[in-house]
């Protein structure tokens, strides 16, 4: 599924801090133009509060753009739909359901017959390496396992696009790396289009075919950096290769000014 952002702008109405009735407009995103090809893995990086999550909400159909359009295979987004699956940073698992039950939750929404659900859920839990944990409740699983369940749930109902909102931010470094590898292998096997949000530069370079760097307030796309790291199947440490370092530095330089500007803006906002 191809995704096209056409001059997308998103404004929010915010109440004045002093408690007066007066409300002001706040521009979260402005002039977003972005094209994502079918089956592509695109990463969005930007300083905190740059509107990354807003962008994903727009794509997920949870909010509507103030102006501009978002097209999925040429059709404008009008609301949420099961052609897009969202993976949240906080997992969003139903705590009263087992791992299996959580994966089936997505299948129930798409109307998969009851008999097929169990088999399908097991298949996708197996895909994320959770065979043997089907009957565990979320509180009996580690953070990494919970996120695997959430990914399995999103994959199971077969959306064409996977929207991932800092899915690995709450995990420890080792778990994060292994989940990154697994996500890449799942992506390669399933051929989904992936839009991945992160504030980690290493994660962006490691995962993305292209990395879109965003500016802070209002969020704009500053530059799109194509990443080519050669063969990913090479067993040596990809993160220490010179290409990786070059890309990393390029994105770091692009982000550096933005982070400084974002901090300045925050200070000004706090001083008011």
């Amino acid at each position: 599924m191809t995704i096209v952002f056409e001059n997308v702008r998103k404004e929010f109405t915010v109440k004045d801090r002093s408690g007066k009735r007066q409300s002001s407009r706040f521009t979260a995103l402005d002039g977003i133009d972005l094209e994502i090809a079918d089956g592509e893995f695109v990463v969005l990086v930007g300083p905190s509060g740059c509107g990354k999550s807003t962008l994903l909400d727009l794509l997920g159909g949870l909010t509507q753009p103030t102006s501009g359009r978002i097209l999925l295979d040429g059709t404008p987004v009008t609301g949420p739909g099961l052609d897009r699956g969202i993976v949240f940073q906080q997992y969003a698992l139903l705590p009263w359901r087992t791992a299996q039950g959580n994966v089936e939750f997505g299948l129930e929404a798409t109307g998969v017959p009851r008999r097929q659900r169990a088999a399908r859920a097991r298949e996708f839990l197996d895909l994320v390496g959770l065979t043997g944990f089907e009957d565990r409740h979320p509180h009996e699983l580690s953070g990494g396992m919970r996120q695997r369940v959430a990914i399995a749930r999103s994959l199971a109902y077969d959306p064409q696009v996977l929207l991932m909102d800092e899915p690995f931010a709450a995990l420890d470094a080792q778990t994060r790396e292994s989940l990154q590898d697994e996500l890449l292998s799942v992506w390669q096997r399933t051929g989904k289009t992936v839009v991945f949000i992160t504030h980690g530069i290493d994660e962006a370079v490691y995962l993305g075919q292209r990395v879109a760097v965003m500016t802070s307030r209002p969020g704009r796309i500053k530059r799109i950096v194509p990443v080519s790291l050669g063969s990913r199947t090479a067993t040596d440490d990809l993160r220490s290769s010179p290409e990786f370092a070059r890309h990393r530095h390029e994105i770091w330089s692009l982000l550096h000014d933005e982070v400084a500007r974002a901090q300045q803006l925050e200070k000004e906002a706090a001083a008011v």
Partner: protein, 289 residues
């Protein structure tokens, strides 16, 4: 391990057992130690009650209190047995339980859906909030004369007062349960384009069960409390009536027998609700207790 179905009651129970199971001990000393621990638990949990009964038995006998007004426990137990044998106890208990349970049941049936509605639709909450606040803070028993005036002294007024008193804890807890459903779960449901009935059935209702049940348990206690008071005012049967009538007829041991029965019913009902609650919210992260 069976993987054919999920979330059967049996599994919920097993989950509860898995969570609560004590850490394994070596086989050789394990059994003896476990038996010892169990004995210790039983002793600890019954010590205070045993002490109370001992005091109750000995204080009148030693002349510390007037035994006409506080007969020794053994006499009360004897009176209880007498009441149980001639069927008075069963009749009165039945009368009370029917009223209590019908009132409680109606309150659950009304307050849970109403609470879900008020909790979910903010305009409804804004509209009804102040009214709820007024009613909640009006003691149910203060309204008993009103109920009697409007509905007479028959069963209707008694069941109504129980319904009224039970409604508030359930309603308020249900409202707060719905309000506090994890927003990321709601966002998830929205991203999956769930219909409103599905959203309620699959997300809001199960997420609200634990907090809702706190209210239901409170209501269980309230149902017996209020009923007994109501029966003391105008009734021809029921445990409240038994206690009151015994006092008038100066059958003091019988009066205490009635009181003990009420305590026992209260404890049993609460235990029942606690075990249902455990079963329904076994998925909750065990927090300390």
């Amino acid at each position: 391990m069976s993987t054919t179905t999920t979330e059967t009651p049996a599994e919920a129970v097993r989950e509860a057992l898995v969570v609560k199971a004590p850490e394994p001990t070596p086989v050789s000393t394990g059994r003896a130690r476990r038996a010892g621990r169990l004995l210790l638990t039983v002793v600890t949990k019954s010590a205070a009650i045993a002490a109370l009964l001992l005091l109750w038995e000995s204080a009148p006998r030693l002349g510390l209190v007037d035994r006409t007004f506080l007969p020794p426990f053994s006499e009360v137990a004897e009176a209880w047995w007498g009441l149980a044998e001639d069927g008075q106890l069963a009749d009165n208990t039945q009368a009370s339980l029917v009223r209590s349970f019908s009132g409680f049941g109606i309150a659950v049936a009304v307050a849970v859906p109403l609470g879900l509605l008020i909790g979910w639709y903010r305009p409804v909450a804004d509209l009804l909030g102040p009214l709820l606040e007024v009613f909640r803070n009006t003691a149910a028993l203060a309204l008993l004369p009103v109920f009697v005036l409007l509905l007479g002294i028959g069963e209707t007024s008694k069941i109504s007062i129980v319904v009224y008193a039970c409604t508030w804890p359930i309603l308020l807890n249900t409202i707060s349960a719905v309000r506090n459903v994890d927003p990321t779960l709601l966002k998830l449901a929205r991203s999956m384009d769930l219909s409103a009935p599905r959203l309620f059935q699959k997300v809001i209702l199960p997420a609200s069960v634990p907090v809702m049940f706190t209210g239901i348990r409170l209501a269980g206690a309230v149902s017996i409390l209020v009923l007994v008071a109501a029966e003391m005012i105008g009734a021809k049967a029921g445990l409240g009536y038994l206690i009151n009538a015994s006092q008038y007829n100066f059958a003091i041991p019988q009066m205490y027998a009635g009181i003990i029965t009420i305590s026992a019913i209260g404890v049993a009902f609460n235990q029942l609700l606690v075990s249902v609650e455990r079963r329904l919210s076994s998925w909750r992260v065990p927090t300390g207790a």
